[in-house]
Structures are given as C-alpha cells and as structure tokens.
C-alpha cells in the first residue's frame, strides 16, 4: 500500500497541506524545522489508516486551535494497482468515507482501513511509525506480539537465559581453575600445596638415598675396621713373638757356651773317678730340679686360680647384650622423659583452654561422659539446626515490619476512602466540571478571536497605510444616517407636503449611508471584536458563577474537578483496596505469630541437640553461628587433648618399658647402684662389663697355658729323678776315676767341667721350665730367621712397632666413633617421615587436583554446550526476523556490528548486539552509544515491519531517526531505506537539512519541505491604522521551494 496523495484540511497546526503523486517515489523525505509539523504529519498518516484516537473532538490532541473539525483525505494505491480515496473527519463523531476508483463510496466510520490487515494501531505506532521520543525499545504488548508471531514463543519464563546460565557456570569454573598463574583458584592452592610438599618429597628422597649411602659407608668402614684389627693383631704378634722367642734363643746360646767350655776343660767326659765333684754337681742339679719343679707348681696353681671366673662376672657377661642395648638407649630415654614433660604441660594448657571455653558455653564443667558426648555430637545436624535457627531469626522482625507497612497502608486506604465525596457533592462536582469545560472552551474561543482581531487590526493598519483610505468609514455612514434623519425630520417641521421628495431623499441618503457602512474596511474587525467582547462577558459570568478570579487559570480547576470526579469513580476500587489492605494486615499479624512460633521451635531443636550438655541459657537467647563456632572449637580442643594424652602415654610407656627392663636387669645382677635409676646406672654396668670381659680373656689365656705347664712339671720331675741317679752313679765313678786314689784331684778338674756342664744343663732345664714350648719357639724362631725377620729387635724398632700399634688403635677408635655417628644418623633418618608417606600425600593432592580439573572442564564443557544450544536455538527459532534485522544492522554500521539477538528474562525482553571482532554479546543499553542503539532499533523495526505486515505492506514512517548519526551511517541508512522503499513506502521525517540533502542526492529521494513554524505575532501598534488582511502570492511562494509543496494560500485557508 502506498500513499499517492495527501490533503490535510485541518490537523493540529497543519491546515490545508497537500501533496500529490507520491506513490511513484520509493522514499519520501519530509523536511521541516522544529515545530513545523513533522510529528503532526506522522499522526495524520496513522489517523488516515486507523481512524481518530481518541474519537472525541474535544479530547483529540490534534484538533485545530481555531475550533475547526480535524480532518483530511488521502488517495492510497494498492499492490494490484487499484486505488481508492479515503476521507476522515472528526466533527461530533468520527467520520470516514472510502471511495473506490469506480466512484462507489462506503462509510468507514472510525474503523481501521481493512488493508492494514493484522497490524493494529498499537503495533503500527510502535513498529511502523515509532515516535521520535521513544526510539529505544518496544512496548511489552508489541514484544508479546513479536514473540508470539515471530519468535515462536521461545522465551520460556521458567528458563534462565543462556548468558546468565553460562556466566554462572563460567564463574564456578573460574573458582576452580584458570589459565592465569595469578588467579586465586582452588587448583592454584592445591598446586602451591603440591609444590611445598614436593620439597618435602625431595628431602625424603634425599634422606632415603642418604640412608642407602650410610649403609654402604658403614659396610665399608666395618670392612676397614676388620682390616685394621688384623693389622693390629699382626703387629702385636710380632712384638709378642720377639718377646717370646728371644729369651729362648739366648738361653740356648748360653747352654751351648757352657757346654763348649766344659768340653774345652775336659776333652773327654770319662773322668768318672772324680765322683765327689760330679756328685756335688749332681746333687746341685737335683736341688735345682726340685726348685724348678716347685716354682712350676706355684705357677700352675696361679693359672688354675685365674681360670675360674667370679659369679658376678659370670652374671654380667650373661647380660652383655641387654647392657649394651640399655646403654645405647640411654640418650633416647632422656629425650623421651623431656618429651613427656612437654606433652604434660601442653595438655594442661589445652585443658585450661578447654575449661575457659567451656565456661563461655556451658553452665558447669564437663566431666568425662559429657566430654564424650560433646566429642560424639553430630555436627552436621547441629549446624543444620543452628543455620535454620539463624536463618529464621530475622523472620519475626521482617513479619513485624510487613505488619507495620500493612497497617500504614490500611490507614492510607481508609483516608482515601474517607476522602470520597458524597453523592450530592458528586453531582455538584459534575456540574462544576461541565461549567469549567464550557468556560475553558469559551476562553479558548475568546483567545482565538482576540488573536484574530489583533492580527486583523495590524493588517488593517497596514492596508490603510497602503490604500490611504480614511481612517473610518463608520463616521461617514453615521453622518449620512444623521442627514437622512434630518431630512425626515423636515416633515415634522412643515415639509410634509413634500413627502414624496423628502422620503425618497432621506431613503437615498440612508441607502448611501448603509452602503458606506456596509463597505467599511473595519467591518470584520468590529464584528470579531464584538464577538470577542460577548465571549469575554460570558466568560466573566461563568467565572463569577464558579467563584473564580479573573486571572485564575481554568485548566488547573478543570483538572482538579476531573480528578475529584475520577476519585468518586474510584470508590469501588478504593473500597476493594481497603478490604484487601485489612486482609493483608491480618495476614501479616498471623505471620508474625507464626514466625515467632517457628523461631521458638527452631531454638528448641537446637536445645534438644545440645540437651545432653549443660548449655548456658544465655547462649540460646540470641541465635548465632558463634555457638556452633564455640562448640567446634571445644571439640577441636578436646581432640587435641586426646591426642596429647595418647602421645604422652605412648612415650611414657616406652620410657617405662625401658625402665622396667633396666630394673629387671638390675634385679638379676643383684647390684642396683644406690641413689640412681636403673637407666642411669647403665654406665656403671658398662664398666663392670668391661672388667668381666677382661677377666674372661685372662681366664681363657690361662686355660690355654695350663696344659703346657702341666707337661712341663712332669718333665721337671723326670729330670729330678735322673739327676739323683746320676749323683749316685757319679760318686762311684769318681771314686774309680781318681788316679791317685783320691777322687778330689780329678774331682777338682772334673768339678769345674762338670760344673759347667751342670750349669749348661741347669740353664737348659731352666729354659725348658720357663719356656715349655721352647722347641716350638726355637722352630718358630728358625722360621722367622728364614723369613728374614729380626727377632732381636732394637729399642728403636720396638718403639716404632708400639707407635704403629697406637696409631692402629687410634684409627680403630675413630672408625668406631664414625660408625656410631653413621648409625645414629641412620637411626635419625629412619625415624623421619618415609618417602612413601610423602608420596601418598602427594598422590592425594594429585587426585584432588585431577578432580578439580575434571570438575572445571565439565563446567566449561557444559557452558559450551549451553552456548551451542543457544546458537542453534537462535538459528532455528529467531532466524527469519533477527537474521533480517542483523543484516540491516550490518548495513547500517558498515559491517561493524553483525548480529542482533533477543533474550527474554524475568518477563523483560532485552536486545543484544554482537561486534564483528568480538565473541561476547552486548546488551543494547549504555555504555553503547545512543546512535548505535537507535540504529539497532531501526534495523529491528524495519525487519519487524516486513514480518508483521499482512498482504499489503504498510508505509514506514520514520520520525527523525538519524538525529545523532554520522554522515557515513546516514549514507548507509539512505541505501538501506531506498532498498526497503522498493518493497514498501518509506516516509522519513527529518529536521536536518543535511540529512534531507543527502537522501536527495544519494538515493534521489523526494524531499517535501514543511513551512516553518509560525513565529510569535508582534505586539500590535495601537496607533497603527486598521487594515484588511491581504497577502501577496509572491511572498507565499518565497516560503516554499518545491513544486509539490502546498501553496501558501492553501496553508492559510481557514
């Protein structure tokens, strides 16, 4: 449907405006200054299509000021080429007449034009012809229509929008994990924990490696120690060998020397006759043998005594392992005792803290059973009940506040209801309102008349100046009438006979005066002035009747009267509102009681949970989380006390076990040192153990020596017997050997030789006695000599060997100390946290991190799913209209903004736009610029209009949409609207010359220019002569510039 011709007879300030041959133009631009009537033209177009709204002339906002009936006509052309004429006029009632091209007319009344189809007046006003002052947004009724017809009812009220739901999911995911290392996420906290624990792990791994190293080092040092022990034993053996073998060697050498001297003195040992000497020697041998045997017996007895250990030494040796263990645990025992004391002190401190906290919560101290009850208290249930109590604590206060507000509202309603006037007053009010309305109309008419009179006077003066006419023809007419009267008067003074002359003369003069009076210039002015004076008088009477002062405005009183009448009309509504308010107050009062009961019940539930404990009454007076907090702290303190007690008992038990073992050992040894604890006496036991070990070594040595000594004793006894036999035989032989018969001569010689021999034998015997193993020693010495070993050590050599032994012993002691230190370090490391335990905690953290990551990814994926669903939903359900709107928006913004979507949330429909270079949607509101917002709404309106129309596309009337657009976007709009104009008629109303010129130059739009708004009339010059109102055509033509613009004289038609 296109408008081909418009003719506005009177509509608002547009009077007699006309335009023709419009249907062939795709795009019409109506340009006019402010208040030139652009919006009035928009309203006229809507009125042509849909009728007058409101349908009462007195209330129509576009009723002309001059009181003329608003109306006009249009010729419309349909798509099939047919056309019809439509006239609408608002007199007493709205009138409409539809005349077809065949000349057949039909009454339309105030009904919409049938060709408007499904588009109602409201939709047309909101979409096709939006007002300039409401560019942003559609009315909710229009949105409902759009949703119902175009968006398929997709805005389900029970659903959140995708943006809202996805934002919630993203926020939850961001709390769990973020890519940024600075984000304080749960994953980040776990990572930090992991990092800290990783250091512990590295330390534990290093400790384990260190323990393995220690084991290796200890094995190496033990091997080294064994080597040194062997070397020490060898050195000691060499010294011992030297000491053991050297006397034997020397003894043997001495014996050999004696034998050599005896042989030198007596060549042959056949001087048996020297029996005395020999006998003497033999007797000496016998005595020496006896002495040696006795000495040996003494030595044997000494050794036998050494082989027997004392009972105490035996007992100490039997407990060797236990003594070593106790000595080794001595340091640990002292640490445990100190640790027990620390734990006792710490536990006492916790006990004091617990009692102090108890005093804040409970009325009595908690005994064991109550502490057990406290420890087993179900915190989840208590927390739930306390939370419910706290949550409900504000309920009564809120309900009381609600009750107070309800009562205030009841009072307000009561006052409103009491303010309703009575029926008598209502009748008077109606009369007053009618009178005021009449007065308003009269005063409006008087104002209009006064204005016309002033204007006419001004024109009259101007005309009088131009025509140089006498100021007043009325006086001339009055003179003529007086002359006519005088002529008639002559009949009374004697000219009655000449009546045939006088009467026609007087009639002629009167006719001439009448003619003069009839053609006077100021006639209209005088007529209007009279009407104005009459109207003014009527107004004053009405004001007096209404009790209004002359300068009081009627509109205010009329408004008050109407409000009062509206107040009367609202009596049922106020009555219903009062009943509802009282009902609300009653409900609120009931809720107060109910909330208080609920609160009391919740408090009782909390008290029930803690009934087994002597809770302070004051703690149940005011709800709060601090009670739960105090109980949790008490439970924590109780747990800590339990832990401390357990640890103290465990350590004390270990110490006690050690003490018991030490005591048992002392009892077994029957030698507990007085004044010391068994553990402290362990050092003494250690010394005793060393002594017992030394005694055992001596006994073992003696045991080894005794068999040899006994053998040697038997040999000495045999030697003694031989010596005695030799003495007897020698005496006989000496007596025989004496050459002079006296054995004394040879005896002296032989005695000397035999003495030497005896000395040799004695030396040899002594050697055997002293060294029973002299033969082995001799053989050993021989072997040593064969090896090149020097047995006859010098003092320097002995010193060197002793130094070597000292060094070896020192080295061994150092090695033992090192071994002990390594063992202590190993034991310390073994007591620390094992690597597997740290790894276990790490694994738990790792599991938690994986869980957090999984939850984050699930939330992110769910967010992505919702976004994809949203995208698909929009593609499926919002595609036709929003795709068109998005294309329009892209055209308008030069492709910068490419998408336009709609969301309905909480009953509110909102528009979102998307930039080409961004992913997020922006709500079409601040801070987006006003120009962009108006462009988006223009795009949406154009698209909606195309979708909403019926068979006939309705004209699109755009009221100055490009107000604050830049030139580029105005040019884009021109292109878009020109394209749209090929499918439907587009009427662009603008107050900007540049916009009109751009549309005209770029898309060849037809530009209609409205005349400028009338300026305020100049103050009339009372001295100026009254003239008639005349306007030259040239002046009027200068004001219009287009051929189709209504002629000035048409616009000035009354």
């Amino acid at each position: 449907m296109r408008i081909d011709r418009l003719e506005i007879e009177a509509f608002g300030q547009l009077v007699g405006w006309r335009a023709e041959n419009l249907s062939g133009q795709p795009l019409l631009v109506v340009h006019g200054a402010n208040e030139s009537g652009k919006t009035t033209l928009r309203e006229f177009l809507a009125t042509v299509l849909y009728g007058f709204s409101p349908g009462e002339r007195g209330e129509h906002p576009y009723a002309p000021w001059n009181g003329e009936a608003p109306g006009g006509s249009a010729v419309l052309r349909l798509l099939d080429g047919s056309s019809f004429s439509l006239e609408r006029r608002l007199r007493g009632a709205p009138e409409g007449r539809l005349t077809g091209s065949d000349g057949v007319a039909a009454a339309l009344g105030n009904r919409p034009l049938p060709a408007t189809g499904p588009v109602g007046r409201a939709t047309f006003d909101d979409v096709h012809a939006a007002r300039r002052d409401a560019p942003d947004g559609l009315r909710e009724a229009t949105w409902a229509l759009v949703r119902e017809r175009l968006l398929g009812g997709t805005a389900a009220p029970h659903l959140r929008s995708t943006r809202e739901a996805a934002a919630g999911l993203d926020a939850r995911a961001a709390e769990l994990w973020q890519g940024s290392r600075r984000a304080r996420t749960r994953h980040r906290r776990l990572a930090l924990q992991t990092r800290r624990l990783q250091r512990t792990r590295d330390r534990a791994a290093a400790e384990l490696r260190r323990m393995l190293e220690l084991r290796e080092q200890m094995a190496g040092k033990a091997w080294h120690l064994r080597g040194m022990q062997e070397q020490l034993a060898e050195t000691r053996a060499r010294l011992l060998r030297a000491e053991r073998l050297l006397p034997v060697l020397r003894g043997l050498a001495a014996v050999e020397d004696l034998r050599r001297r005896a042989a030198a003195a007596v060549a042959q040992d056949d001087f048996e006759s020297d029996a005395r000497a020999w006998l003497t020697a033999l007797r000496a041998d016998a005595r020496a043998a006896a002495e040696r045997s006795a000495a040996l017996a003494t030595e044997i007895a000494t050794h036998e005594q050494r082989t027997v250990l004392s009972l105490q030494d035996q007992a100490v040796l039997a407990a060797e392992d236990e003594i070593r263990t106790l000595v080794g645990e001595g340091a640990v025992h002292q640490q445990d005792l100190v640790h027990v004391n620390d734990l006792v002190r710490e536990r006492d401190a916790q006990e004091a803290l617990f009692r102090e906290r108890c005093s804040n919560v409970f009325s009595a101290e908690l005994d064991g059973s109550r502490r057990e009850t406290l420890a087993r208290l179900g915190l989840v249930e208590l927390r739930a009940r306390v939370s419910a109590w706290v949550d409900a604590s504000g309920g009564p206060e809120l309900a009381r506040e609600e009750l107070r507000q309800a009562k205030e509202y009841v009072r307000t309603c009561e006052l409103d209801f009491e303010a309703i006037p009575s029926s008598d007053a209502e009748r008077k009010l109606k009369q007053r309102e009618e009178t005021l309305r009449v007065l308003q109309a009269r005063e409006d008419a008087w104002q209009a008349l006064k204005k016309d009179v002033d204007a006419a006077k001004a024109a009259l003066e101007a005309a009088a100046k131009r025509l140089r006419k006498p100021k007043s023809s009325t006086s001339q007419a009055a003179g003529l009438f007086v002359a006519a009267g005088s002529t008639l008067m002559t009949l009374a003074f004697g000219a009655g006979d000449a009546w045939w002359f006088v009467v026609p003369m007087a009639a002629g003069i009167g006719w001439f005066g009448w003619r003069t009076l009839r053609h006077r210039v100021e006639t209209p002015v005088l007529s209007d002035e009279a009407r104005a004076a009459s109207t003014r008088l009527e107004c004053l009477k009405l004001r007096e009747q209404l009790g209004l002062h002359e300068f009081e405005t009627v509109a205010g009183h009329l408004e008050k009267a109407r409000e009062s009448l509206a107040h009367v009309a609202a009596r049922p509504e106020l009555e219903r509102r009062l009943v509802q308010a009282r009902q609300r107050a009653d409900d609120a009062a009931r809720r107060v009681a109910q909330r208080e009961q609920e609160l009391d019940k919740l408090r009782q539930r909390v008290a029930e949970t803690l009934s087994a404990l002597p809770l302070l009454e004051s703690r149940l007076q005011q709800p709060g989380q601090d009670l739960l907090h105090d109980i949790e702290e008490l439970r924590a303190t109780l747990r800590e006390m339990t832990r401390l007690t357990g640890e103290q008992q465990a350590v004390a038990l270990r110490a006690k076990e050690r003490e018991a073992r030490a005591t048992r050992l002392a009892e077994r040894l029957e030698s507990a040192p007085s004044g010391r604890s068994p553990m402290e006496a362990s050092a003494i036991w250690h010394e005793r153990l060393q002594l017992a070990l030394a005694a055992r070594r001596r006994a073992e040595e003696s045991g080894r020596v005794l068999p040899t000594l006994r053998d040697k004793g038997r040999e000495l006894e045999a030697a003694l017997r031989v010596a005695q036999e030799s003495q007897r035989g020698g005496e006989q032989r000496l007596a025989r050997l004496a050459g002079d018969g006296r054995p004394e001569s040879g005896l002296n010689v032989l005695e000397e030789a035999r003495a030497w021999r005896a000395q040799a034998v004695a030396a040899e015997a002594a050697l055997r006695c002293q060294f029973p193993d002299w033969q082995e020693r001799a053989a050993e010495a021989g072997d040593a000599g064969n090896r090149g070993e020097t047995l006859d050590l010098t003092s320097e050599q002995r010193v060197a060997l002793n130094d070597q032994i000292g060094q070896l012993e020192t080295g061994m002691a150092r090695l033992r100390e090192e071994l002990d230190a390594l063992a202590r370090e190993r034991d310390e490391l073994a007591a620390r946290r094992p690597l597997s335990d740290v790894d276990g905690e790490l694994a738990a953290l790792h599991d938690e991190r994986r869980r957090v990551e999984g939850r984050h990814d699930r939330l992110a994926a769910l967010s992505g799913l919702l976004r994809l669903a949203d995208e698909r939903w929009r593609e499926r359900w919002q595609a036709p209209v929003l795709a068109t709107a998005s294309a329009h928006l892209s055209t308008l913004t030069g492709g910068l903004w490419e998408r336009l979507t709609v969301e309905t949330s909480g009953g509110e429909t909102r528009l979102f736009v998307k930039r080409r270079d961004a992913e997020t949607l922006h709500a079409l509101a601040e801070p987006l610029s006003r120009a962009l917002r108006s462009q988006a709404w223009l795009a949406l309106r154009v698209a909606l209009a195309e979708q909403l129309d019926g068979n006939e596309p309705l004209p699109l009337v755009l009221d100055d949409p490009c107000g604050d657009w830049d030139a580029a976007r105005v040019a884009n709009a021109a292109g878009l609207l020109a394209a749209v104009g090929t499918r439907r008629q587009v009427v662009l109303l603008t107050g900007q010359e540049s916009v009109a010129n751009l549309f005209e130059s770029q898309v060849k739009a037809l530009v209609l220019r409205l005349p400028a708004a009338p300026v305020a009339p100049p103050t009339p010059d009372p001295t100026a002569p009254a003239t008639t109102r005349v306007r030259r055509k040239d002046d009027a033509r200068r004001e219009g510039s287009h051929k189709d613009e209504p002629r000035p004289e048409d616009a000035q038609k009354p």
Binding site: R215, V380, L868, A869
Partner: protein, 429 residues
C-alpha cells in the same frame, strides 16, 4: 641360567602345587590425606607380606612365584627391605623356593634396589635374562620347572618371550612373567610393557603362565592357563574387591586348578547409594551411607576387614544443594569415619560426582525452548563435530597428547540433568 637341575629324575611327574602372586608394591604410596591412615595402610601392606609367607608355610607348596612389582624401587625403606628379606628367608628356609620375576617397579637395573638387595638363599630373582629353576619334592625328584623372566629396566617395552626356553617333555613347567596382555580387564591403566598374548602362551608349550602387572584378577588364557592374580593389596578405589594370591594345582595332565586365597584385609570400596534421589538432607544422606556400608559388610562377611570407603554422589538428589558443597561433604566424611571406625573403617570420602537436583527431563525434550535444544545437543555429543563445538578452548585436565574428545566425553556423564539444573529457574520435580 639354571639354578639347579636333577639329572636322574625319572618316572611320571607328580602334581605340582605352587602359590602365584604379584604386585604387592611394598612401600608404594597410598593416596590419602590423613597421615594416620597412610601409616595404617602401609602397615597393612607389610602385614599382607607376612600373611603370604604364612600361607606358604602352612600349605608347603612347591614354590612361591612372584610375578613382579614386589616393591617400589625408589621408595623401599630399609626397614621394609629388612622385613622383606627376613620373611622370604623364612619361606626359603622352610624348603619353599621363591622365584621372583622382576617387574617394572622392582626392575633389575644395575644399581637398582633389586640388584643391590642381599636376597637370601633360596630366593631366585630373574632379571631381563630368563631364569630356570627346577622344583623338587622331599625325595629330591624334579616335580616341575619354573621359567622366569623379568624386567631389566623400568621401561621394558619389548617382548622377552623369544628368549624363554621351550618346555621339556614330561616336566610341567610354569612361566613367571611381568607382562601386559592387551585386552585384559583393567590393562589400560598400566603401561604396555613386555607385551604378550594368548598366541604366545600356546607356542612355547608351558603349562601355566603366572602373570603380573595388571592389577585385576582374571584368567587371560585357557590352554595353557594364564592368570593374573591381581594385586596382592589394593592400591586405591580403582582396585575394589578382595585381594590375595592364587594357589595353583597343576596335575600331570589336565587343566590347572586355581584357588583364590584372600590375604589382604584392606578393601577399597565405592558403595552405591540406590536411595540417593530420595535423600532430602545430609542427615538422611549419612543414614544412607551407613546403610550402604552395612550391606557391603554383610556381603563380604569378614569381620576383621579394613575399609576405605568413598561415596560418589551422582544423579538426581533432593539434597543436591548441600551435596554440591565440598566442605559439608568433607565434614560428613569425617563424621562417618568416626562413627564407623569401630567396624574397621579407616577413612570415608563423600564426593560430589555430578549430583543434580531431580528434574524430569521428558517434558522438556523436543520443546521449542533453550532447554529442549540443550537436551538435543547433549544427546548428539557422540558426534565428534558437535563435541568439537562444545570443547572448551583450554582444558585444565587434559594431558598433552591426550585425546581431548575421549577425555571430555568421560566428564559428561549425566550432563543432561546438569544442563537442566543450570537453565531451570525453579526446578519442579
């Protein structure tokens, strides 16, 4: 390498009985936040080793075959090492030879703990080179032969089967191997080290394959029999059920009889909560958890069992708002641990694994609104193209090189209810 060989054995081979176990992982970490629980679990691992040795001393089998991963190489403490040596020494001294095929965790790499360990006499350790041990009865007759091959490093990806000697006629032989059988249940959780398969089992002529590495007890070959005994001790919640060793009887002819002997008291279990949708608050949830544990105890029937429990909350639940708060669930876990400690429960975890408010999705499916579209997208997630559009740009938990689609699909269980929960303003059950 042959440890011993009886040249003059003759006559039909008698029945061969041996104990087969694997994957004890001594001193491997237990993922638990509580230090006391970790200590208790580590002690249970050592106790399980003692019970294994007690079983051998009581049953007097011909051998104790350990198919690898007896301990964790880098974490084995000295005290545990001493215990291991003393216990195995006890078994070996009782005349039960012990054959250990090193696994990837206790591999025989030079300088490793396995190589440095002073194994007692009678314990035969097989590294990457095959080891043959003849088993004899009290009279000295050869009753069977064990061929073992282990891992020489932590990443033995190549198969060592070609190095195994063939079976000898008339001598029942058993292969001890720490290997990965592709397709075995739970095999995906383990590295594919030393791969083998049923076709390999039949080729060499051995009667029984004593396998290790996969922690789930199962039979992976019938002729010849090939068994995984499962881990001797559960390591986590992915290893539920009873754990122990196999007592295998191998008759001269016919199939092997395998008897499972539970040895570990420790149970990692995730009991189901069938009544979760009806749970209205945490008190009821606590009761439901205790009831589920009671049902589990009745099934198991072992009074001295030690329990590690995890309740995973998923699906619709009326108390979803509370069940989605980790701090409340942690407190509930602590309370359950305290309440059930007298029943041998060491720790209880209660976790939100996707619990949602109860929503009937049927009325929303196919509806022309966003939720209907979201449900349609969720149903189409098996399509890779759809999933790719849902995939987040950055995944927190996907390892480099991991299949992101498979990873995300694993996270999207019950995603329809989650989407409904996110979109619905007020859920109407």
């Amino acid at each position: 390498m042959t440890a011993s060989h009886d040249e003059d054995s003759a006559g039909p081979a008698p029945t061969l009985r041996f104990v087969h176990c694997s994957d004890l992982h001594l001193d491997a970490p237990f993922a638990a936040a509580d230090a006391a629980v970790r200590g208790r679990l580590a002690e249970e691992a050592r106790a399980t080793l003692r019970r294994l040795c007690e079983l051998c001393l009581a049953e007097r089998p011909a051998a104790l075959l350990i198919a690898g991963d007896l301990f964790d190489d880098e974490r084995l403490s000295l005290s545990t090492e001493e215990l291991l040596v003393s216990e195995l020494s006890r078994v070996a001294q009782a005349g039960v030879p012990v054959v250990l095929a090193c696994g990837n965790h206790d591999n025989a790499a030079p300088g490793g703990r396995c190589s440095a360990l002073a194994w007692p006499e009678g314990v035969h350790v097989a590294g990457s080179e095959p080891l043959t041990v003849d088993l004899r009865d009290a009279e000295g007759r050869t009753v069977g032969r064990v061929v073992a091959v282990g891992h020489g490093s932590a990443h033995e990806t190549a198969s060592r089967l070609s190095a195994l000697p063939a079976a000898e006629e008339g001598v029942p032989s058993v292969v001890v191997l720490h290997g990965h059988v592709q397709g075995a249940r739970g095999a995906f959780r383990h590295e594919p080290l030393s791969p083998c398969g049923p076709e390999d089992f039949a080729a060499a002529g051995h009667r029984y394959w004593a396998l290790g590495h996969v922690h789930e007890r199962q039979q992976v070959g019938r002729r010849p029999a090939a068994h995984y005994p499962g881990s001797l001790l559960a390591r986590g919640f992915d290893e539920p059920g009873a754990r122990g060793a196999l007592l295998v009887t191998l008759p001269p002819k016919g199939e092997a009889r395998v008897e499972f002997r539970p040895l570990s008291l420790l149970r990692f279990e995730m009991p189901a909560l069938p009544g979760l949708p009806a749970v209205r608050d945490l008190t009821e949830l606590r009761a439901a958890c205790m009831a589920a544990f009671e049902a589990l105890r009745e099934q198991d029937g072992r009074p001295d069992a030690l329990w590690m429990l995890r309740f995973e909350l998923s699906g619709p639940c009326a108390a979803a708002a509370d069940c989605q708060r980790d701090e409340l669930l942690d407190e509930l876990g602590d309370e359950l641990t305290a309440a059930l400690s007298s029943f041998g429960v060491l720790g209880v975890q209660v976790r939100d694994a996707g619990v949602t408010r109860p929503v009937d999705l049927a009325p929303h499916r196919g509806q022309p609104h966003l939720l209907g579209e979201a449900l349609a997208v969720a149903a189409a997630l098996q399509d890779d193209a759809v999933l790719d559009r849902v995939l987040p740009a950055t995944l927190a938990g996907a390892a480099p090189g991991q299949d992101k689609r498979a990873y995300v699909r694993g996270l999207l269980a019950d995603i329809e209810h989650a989407a409904a929960e996110a979109l619905l303003r007020e859920v109407r059950p």
